[in-house]
Symmetry: C2
Subunit: 452 residues, 2 copies
Amino acid sequence: MTVAADNSEDTRLQRLQDILASGAIREASRLLRSLAPAEIAHLLESLPPGEREIVWNLVDEQYDGQILLLVTDEVRATLIRHMDPAQLLAATENLDLDDLADLVQQMPSAITTQVMQALDDQRRKRLETVLSYPEDTAGGLMNTDTVTVRPEVTLDVVLRYLRRLGDGVPRDTDKLFVVNRDDSYLGILQLSQLVSRDPEDTVAEAMSLALQAITAETAKSEVARRFEALDLLSAPVVDEQGRLLGRITIDDVVDVIREEGEHQFMGRAGLSEEEDMFAPVLTSTRRRALWLGINLATAFLASWVIGQFEETLAKVVALAVLMPIVASMGGIAGSQTLALAIRGIALGQLSAKNARALMLKELAVGALNSLIWAVVVALIAGVWFQNITIALLIGVAITINLLFAAISGALLPLLLHRVGIDPALAGSVLLTTVTDVVGFLAFLGLATLFLI
Amino acid sequence: MTVAADNSEDTRLQRLQDILASGAIREASRLLRSLAPAEIAHLLESLPPGEREIVWNLVDEQYDGQILLLVTDEVRATLIRHMDPAQLLAATENLDLDDLADLVQQMPSAITTQVMQALDDQRRKRLETVLSYPEDTAGGLMNTDTVTVRPEVTLDVVLRYLRRLGDGVPRDTDKLFVVNRDDSYLGILQLSQLVSRDPEDTVAEAMSLALQAITAETAKSEVARRFEALDLLSAPVVDEQGRLLGRITIDDVVDVIREEGEHQFMGRAGLSEEEDMFAPVLTSTRRRALWLGINLATAFLASWVIGQFEETLAKVVALAVLMPIVASMGGIAGSQTLALAIRGIALGQLSAKNARALMLKELAVGALNSLIWAVVVALIAGVWFQNITIALLIGVAITINLLFAAISGALLPLLLHRVGIDPALAGSVLLTTVTDVVGFLAFLGLATLFLI
């Protein structure tokens, strides 16, 4: 969260924006040449549309592909829109297969066909394999550039084989995969083992059987959890028959983890984790409008509840002044329970099995907190409006709302998850609907019974 | 987010909870022996306190240390509480230094002293080095188990050296660090290069100079960004003089990225990313009470604003029914801009330089959306209360509030960041205070001017 003040990238962004503002294109171009593709990608995401397009045109074309991979989906779409077919085709050259697969899925289908035709047979076949799996599975994440060895050969033979491969050994290789004659996955040979053991040992002696392969259909969130739990750098991916298809490397998993975090955070505001900070105004407006509309419906529901008590309100205006407090306290308390539950579900740590324990604990917390805050609010309201009944009513209403907030905060996300709705997206809206309705109903309902 | 239905870990959690419920301790113990430390850690986090303590006592002591490292800080504290000094001392054996450093910082200081005394001189000195840097810097993340080589030797010599080291080569080594005589960092030698190049080449020929070392004082969020941008598996850490101190591996960076995501998500509800789902009721109550108290203060501020218009409300009760809609629409719209801005700041993509561009874009989005929704709300309110003035007033009030929401959503987090307050924690509270106050003020103020 804390960003170092002496952060060189921020300074570069500022310098570039100063240069662009002054219109010194040649100087901007020189600065860009001093940046790595990842730095340029980061910079493009930070720029408003106009400056973004200028900078994108200044970027050395040989880095187009890498940069397109590094920006978010939305920013990528805006960049692709400014490229002609020849540039797009050039951008797909020299990419890893998993990266290429990511990229072609967002390109116009005419370009995809051209890309496919430009590949040699082996690469095309491999690309088709990766594309045949949904993007959010292990198969969609994997790369097919595995280096495989047989169990019966000696480490010395493996070393000679690797030297023959030379640059064919991917830079981030940390382990080789051991397979038998029909490509079935058997185990792994860590490079650290390969270089530290006696070269006369066989692969079978030096290999590890402990790493279970991931099947291609596994969800990518599950892949991320496996990598985190076992501190993996790379892992084999197999088909249903156990044949090695490829490997997933940690850099792709890091992206999954970052996305999961942003999905929860942005989802709560009804936004996608891919949302471009500088998306076109009309695109943003359309998306936000939907979310505002949903929330408006729930706001009108709360208003309708208040409307049922118009007569009561007309007699005691103090109720109108105080009623937002009851709703707000419930919303805040409920959103805390909700956050715990959504994270628990995302991490696979909350299920129907332990939901009861969570709900009971949250009810206890809610009960204790309502004791504290019901008294505080009652005292303040009593002094403010010089009315003991109102003081008692608001205290009771807050207690009722905090208890409902605890129950719905714990159970709503589980219910949504059960019926296949993403709790990170819908949980917050539904929860505040409950706490608004219950809050107004309890406070105004009790007032109608005891005050009128 | 989606968790595979056939997830083996979930099934195991359910089986274990069934077994615990039936009291078959021996069976539970057998199930635990079939699980990896990471799986046990995950399981412990999912269990309510009582069951958690039972399971913790059943765990094979040799895995205590590893499991303690894998659970969140809060859960770790509850587990440590149930261990006696001898068990704690035993748990620190056979750990990597960066892990050991993490662990001893949470232990009673008497234990820490004992742990230090039990180490050999070299390890103690290294541990002190790691402990001398704050936990949230590169120095606090790093491990000192680097394998270093000199530039002038041949790859063959390196290979023989590694074979002599044998098990001394850390399992997740993907690169060696090249240093000169006084330990100054020069560059890296990828294992994939070491095994694929001619053994007669020198390290100087095979090494890469491209990877800049990270200084020990670098903030860990900056370390994470560097790893993500450059797809690193490990990176060297140096002191101010450029001397190699250790290395950071991606598994620790993955934890940082996960924590950052959870910090934003949980922070919005006033919770810490370390929050234990089953924290003791009193602990939770105390923490939540603080957050509820802060929010109560802002709710009373909004109530006070409403209170200024008691006479108006007494005359036109419809205003009380409709006023939550104005506040709610502003809160929702503002929280969307806020989410974009908080993420932008966290990623280092939003600063004073491009804040104006974001604010103008958000103002445009807010203006367009207020056009749509002001009309919708005005129509519904007009039909509901058969009053054109009320319809016009609520439309104008919503427009005003949406524009204020856009400005404060974009600027508040930057202001908070500037004065050193975490926007992920305080942003949401402050924003809804603004949208509540502005919403009520605009609607009731206009009504007082034009309706009474």
